[in-house]
Amino acid sequence: MAGIALILKYQWRAFWRRLIRTRHRAQFYFTVMIVLGGASVFILPARLSRAARELSAGQTTSMDAVLWTFCVLWLFVLTEDASVSLTSGHLRTFPIAVGQLLTVRILSVFCSPVALLIALGSVISLWPFFLARQTVLGCAAALLLFALAFGSAMSASHALGVAELRRRLVAILVVASVALGAVFSTRGLPGIEQARAVLAVMPPHLVSAVSVAATPSAILIPIGTLIGLCAVVGFVLFWSFRCTLYSPSQTRAVGRAAGSMLWFPGRFGGLLRKEQYELRKLVDVWPGLLLVLAVSAMSLFNPLSPAVRQSVIVLVFVMDTNMIMNGFGLDTSAGLTRYAILPLRGKEVLLVKNLGLTLLVAAQLAPLIAIAVWRSGPLEAGVEAVVAAILLLSHLAWGNLVSVTEPFKMQFYRMASSGSPLTSMAGSTIGSAPGVLVLFLLYSESRWFVAAPPSILLLTLALYLVSLNYSGRCFELRRDLIAERLS
């Protein structure tokens, strides 16, 4: 225990020292705290009051929503870079048992003020259970749920760090997305009712159900399920952690071999291959792709309206925003020096990065466009392709500017970060605006609807070219500053 306490002391010291030493990190945490703190002050009390009223009347809808929110927040915290200094990989050279290393790993999460705020919010969210029929059991079940969310998120984070586990995780998620899409489309029930049926057996609802339960069986079954799930997740957590410590990460030879099959022509071909190879390693690529696969699977059985597909296209870009707005986030200081050594202009470096992103987005949206051609014909698919092109250009135009002015270190196999939630929100709003405008004009049947897509496409293309030139120049002038922020 003394060893764990000592490591945590230095972990805490290193974390806060790094935060103080790097202004942009401090800004990041400050803005996250403002957003989360603001939400806690202005939204949470009202939600909790409502949930408490409902629980006292035996209803669970609002409490379910609160619990879901915290589960998602825990997931988000752990898939982000925890910025810890004393990593498990380095600590394993010391005589410390795996169990102790895992304890250090778990407790190190709470160095982050964001994690502390979410932990505090999670505890506060137990308040409505005091008005429920089963206060103690409700609170206990909620704590089990948080442990479950935390353990699942950490296990997923471990799985992302080991090539073999990562492949399995991705395969499971792909199959699950397609299966979910197929299930939702084949049954006759409306979507909302189906979603309700699925949510009723999910852990957050089990917690609410325990708190309003009137019979022993209504308590025992959900509690037993939660305990069972926690035991399974606990085992998976330990096992996956052990895998990250001792499984070789060098199955890269296989990945490299697969990657080397991709070949791009021209002067920038090699650099482009490097870019798309690195971008594929960001977790952000997957939510968009899984959403597209699920919707495509739905469309296979039941034709969906073009509006659904177009909304999905907008959503995919929103999910990709952080990745697009932090073009240098995966580069190292040495990598930036290499860009300076190579006979390349700043705008050429950015252009290659943009092409890498374009290839990735094209791969994400390809199933949807193919389905559009099949279900709605080439004209409708063409409109969707134009909307996608507009969204891509507008996101890249804004993203290039942010990439050179607000770079932020990112890690492979983690979520991309654009530094601050405000930057991220501004990016997705500005980037989505032209595409949403086109859709609005199309559906409002305004007299501009025929001219709108090509003219807005030309306008965003012009904006993109201006941004590319300007950002390229900025990159040349600010390379040292960018390198410093990425170190």
Binding site: I7, R13, A14, R21, S85, T93, F94, A97, Y246, A257
Partner: protein
């Protein structure tokens, strides 16, 4: 027939490590007696660091058995980790901690008291010429300073076995000399030192025995005295096995 393992030294029997389709180390058989200064040499990517990682329990072998100081090497053998000192290839240091804090953190994890840690750290930093920069954050330290810090951490708990992966890389001549003298003194006291290096001139004056690994296979294992007796240098033996690249292939360089 059961394989008899050396109880005190380093013993590797039929060790293989594969990474997907790539075999990094193939059927490694190696015995190092206690108190030996052993050099493990080879070109880049030949499997030196992988071997060190396996010998120190940082990486599990695909097959074969390893023993160090009588301990069966496994990634979770804590007693083994207490008995050895490791200077890993990447130094494995922690950003935002100073050089001094690295030692302050390290000592108690090996069971040293605070006072013991303090006294030993002061002496080690002085010997490695890090005393004046002990307050430097590791991410602001030079490559050589980081190597020396990691070496000090490996020595702090006075291990009987030292595994040093490229200890002379990026080190200035003065410190290099100090480290060399220190390792010779340690070996004289019975400490087993396992060193990998590319700097053959330095290693030749340091080690007693060596093995050369090429493409994952140990191709020779001799004592330095043996090769010197045969009128050869370590460099001669090295190139005999590793081969010398022909400069003629690059005739286009420098020509117009």
């Amino acid at each position: 027939m059961d394989v008899v393992f050396s109880e005190q030294g380093i013993d590797a029997r039929g060790v293989t490590k594969t990474f997907g389709p790539v075999t990094a180390v193939r059927h490694l058989n190696l015995q190092v007696a206690p108190g030996t200064l052993f050099g493990f040499l080879g070109p880049n990517g030949s499997g030196k660091s992988t071997t060190v990682k396996m010998l120190t329990g940082l990486l599990a072998p695909t097959s074969g058995e390893l023993r160090v100081a009588g301990h069966r090497v496994s990634p979770e053998n804590i007693d083994l980790k207490r008995a050895i000192g490791i200077l890993p290839e990447d130094a494995a240091l922690f950003h935002s901690l100073t050089i001094w804090e690295h030692l302050e953190l390290s000592g108690p994890l090996y069971g040293l008291s605070r006072q013991e840690t303090h006294d030993r750290a002061v002496q080690l930093l002085r010997h490695l010429e890090l005393e004046s920069v002990s307050g430097t954050y590791i991410d602001q330290a030079s490559y050589g300073m980081r190597k020396k810090c990691a070496l000090a951490m490996a020595l702090l708990h006075n291990p009987r076995f030292l595994f040093l992966d490229e200890p002379f890389e990026g080190i200035d001549p003065g410190s290099s000399r100090n480290i060399k003298d220190l390792l010779i003194a340690l070996a004289a006291k019975g400490v087993t030192v396992f060193v990998t290096s590319h700097i053959l001139e330095v290693v030749e004056r340091l080690i007693e025995r060596f093995a050369i690994i090429i493409r994952g296979e140990v191709v020779c294992c001799h004592t330095v005295a043996d090769i010197q007796h045969g009128g050869m240098t370590l460099e001669d033996v090295y190139f005999q096995h590793a081969g010398k690249p022909a400069v003629g292939n690059l005739a286009w360089l420098g020509s117009r």
